[in-house]
């Protein structure tokens, strides 16, 4: 059953050195505040899983928290490169970064397999690409027709972290708008942390919402604007200028280090 605790407490209890951590949110509802707390608490040797690493993982990689990245698209949307990610891959700064690389369809299906308690998922994908060199992608014959399809291994993170619009006092969580793979990430993980804009007495039913019952969530923390510079539909808009300005900060190790220092002093 979900416990309602501070963000610092949730991260301290749920995220440990060496864990496989999935912070999900597809452009919308990215749990930035939680990512920053992981940096502040100085976690190390993490395997980070995320379809679109985005600025949140660029920051964690630059901060030296990450040993391995499992992902499918590592850019700054509409702007360009993630320079901390590139610096780690191209120059090993601040540490070498191991990669496990997929397509979006493959990653989404890996979460579905994890949430379903299956060892793998099947899709039509990857055929003819250079991607199958990764160990988590294998051809598989359809047992009915013999057709060759692709199997991808399940993702089972130690902890999943997401941001949502709101929760009730019991810790039931409600999110809407673009909901990406958050439900699958939470259900595939051993532990689940959700930051929310607000806690309300009772959740009004919304036909378009995803509801995560309290018994699927470990910790809920109230963090208003906890997705910034991503956004929370109904509460905030995407800070596109922040994404544009990150390019210059991320491009330069010195400027990034200054940003990191300021995060520690927030």
């Amino acid at each position: 059953m979900a416990q309602i605790v501070s963000l610092a407490e949730a991260v301290r209890l749920a995220v440990h050195d060496g864990d496989m951590v999935a912070m999900e949110g597809f452009t919308h509802l990215i749990p930035f505040a939680a990512g920053h707390e992981v940096i502040r608490q100085g976690r190390r040797d993490l395997t980070l899983v995320r379809m679109t690493p985005d600025l949140i993982y660029d920051q964690l990689i630059g901060a030296g928290c990450v040993r391995k990245l499992v992902f499918s698209w590592g850019g700054n949307p509409g702007v360009g490169s993630l320079h901390r990610f590139r610096d780690a891959v191209e120059h090993g700064w601040p540490a070498p970064l191991e990669l496990e690389e997929h397509s979006h369809a493959g990653m989404a299906n890996r979460y579905v397999a994890g949430a379903s308690g299956l060892p793998f998922a099947v899709l039509r994908g990857y055929n003819g690409t250079s991607l199958p060199s990764a160990g988590s992608i294998r051809p598989i014959a359809c047992p009915f027709t013999g057709e060759t399809l692709t199997a991808v291994s399940a993702l089972r993170p130690d902890v999943a972290i997401i941001h949502a619009q709101r929760a009730d006092l019991a810790g039931n969580v409600q999110l809407w708008g673009i909901t990406g793979v958050q439900k699958e990430a939470i259900l595939s993980a051993e532990r689940a942390v959700v930051t929310v804009e607000e806690i309300v007495d009772a959740l009004d039913p919304r036909p378009d919402a995803v509801v995560l019952p309290a018994w699927t969530v470990s910790y809920v923390s109230v963090v208003p604007d906890g997705a910034h510079p991503s956004y929370t539909l109904g509460y905030s808009v995407r800070d596109n200028d922040y994404y544009s300005q990150w390019d210059a900060i991320s491009r330069d190790r010195g400027r990034f280090t200054e940003w990191l220092d300021s995060l520690h002093h927030e």
Partner: protein, 258 residues
């Protein structure tokens, strides 16, 4: 000198390749600008589908990302990411996939992963695959929008992120790719289409002020030009006005959002 830029010509040319009523799986950047221009001009019934799960999005401006709020707010339906790939893209329901590329080769294979060196130690690390491999595999056809340069148009891509025609005729069928593959590459100099026999991309149209020689010198393979090279109509006043209005509104939106 004309009163429009080569990027504007490219976007207009790409928009014209989309027909009203089509369903279109849209990549971000150049493809998104062109798809939204098409919807604002000759194809108001164009169905825009983004990998964030927004089906039938109707943004009145150009989104910066594939998951901007305006896409969800204007969509006919918002579905999860597993659903958009498994139920909507994979079965071949989508007419056209609209992609960009960092590198593209003469068979329309796309690289958005690494350039130079080897995979473990690349010279340049690019963002990677995103939704493109399955868009390229499963849409009924694919259109690629990319600026023409010797760096981008290469004999053979360093890494196959998304398959065009592989190494030639028969490869898509052998690989079990259900869509027909790339139908056009639209650049800032002209339009390339696959030769009906060899499937090698061939220059079939050029813009006002460009020459076949100029396109060839900006292509890393021995590009052939069709004998009946089309002179592509410059942007009309209406097309330019619609594109500039979209861009102006998008700039204003970015500022007021912050």
């Amino acid at each position: 000198m004309h009163d429009y830029g080569s990027d504007e010509m490219m976007t207009v040319s790409a928009a014209r390749a989309l027909r009203d009523g089509m369903t279109c799986f849209v990549g971000i950047g150049l493809p998104s600008a062109a798809a939204n221009l098409a919807r604002a001009t000759h194809a108001p019934g164009l169905v825009l589908i983004y990998e964030s799960g927004t089906i039938g999005a109707k943004p009145g401006l150009l989104p910066l990302s594939i998951g901007d709020g305006i896409l969800a707010e204007t969509a006919d339906a918002v579905v999860s990411v597993p659903e958009i790939f498994n139920y909507w893209l994979q079965p071949g329901r989508i007419d056209v996939g609209f992609l960009s590329a960092a590198q593209i080769d003469k068979f329309g294979n796309i690289n958005t992963t690494v350039i130079g060196g080897d995979y473990r130690d690349p010279k340049v690390r690019l963002p990677g695959a995103g939704g493109a491999p399955e868009i390229a595999a499963s849409c009924r056809e694919v259109i690629v929008v990319v600026r023409q340069s010797i760096r981008s148009f290469v004999e053979r891509v360093d890494f196959v992120t998304s398959v065009g025609y592989g190494s030639g005729p028969g490869d898509r069928e052998r690989l079990g790719l259900t869509g027909a593959g790339p139908r056009k590459i639209i650049t800032d100099l002209g339009v390339l289409e696959p030769d009906s026999d060899t499937l090698e991309f061939t220059l079939t149209g050029i813009y006002e002020g460009a020459s076949a020689e100029q396109v060839k010198s900006n292509t890393g393979w021995d590009l052939r030009a069709a004998p009946d090279l089309e002179m592509i109509t410059p942007p009309t006043g209406d097309e330019l006005a619609a594109l500039r209005e979209l861009r102006a509104r998008s700039g204003a939106q970015t500022r007021s959002d912050s």
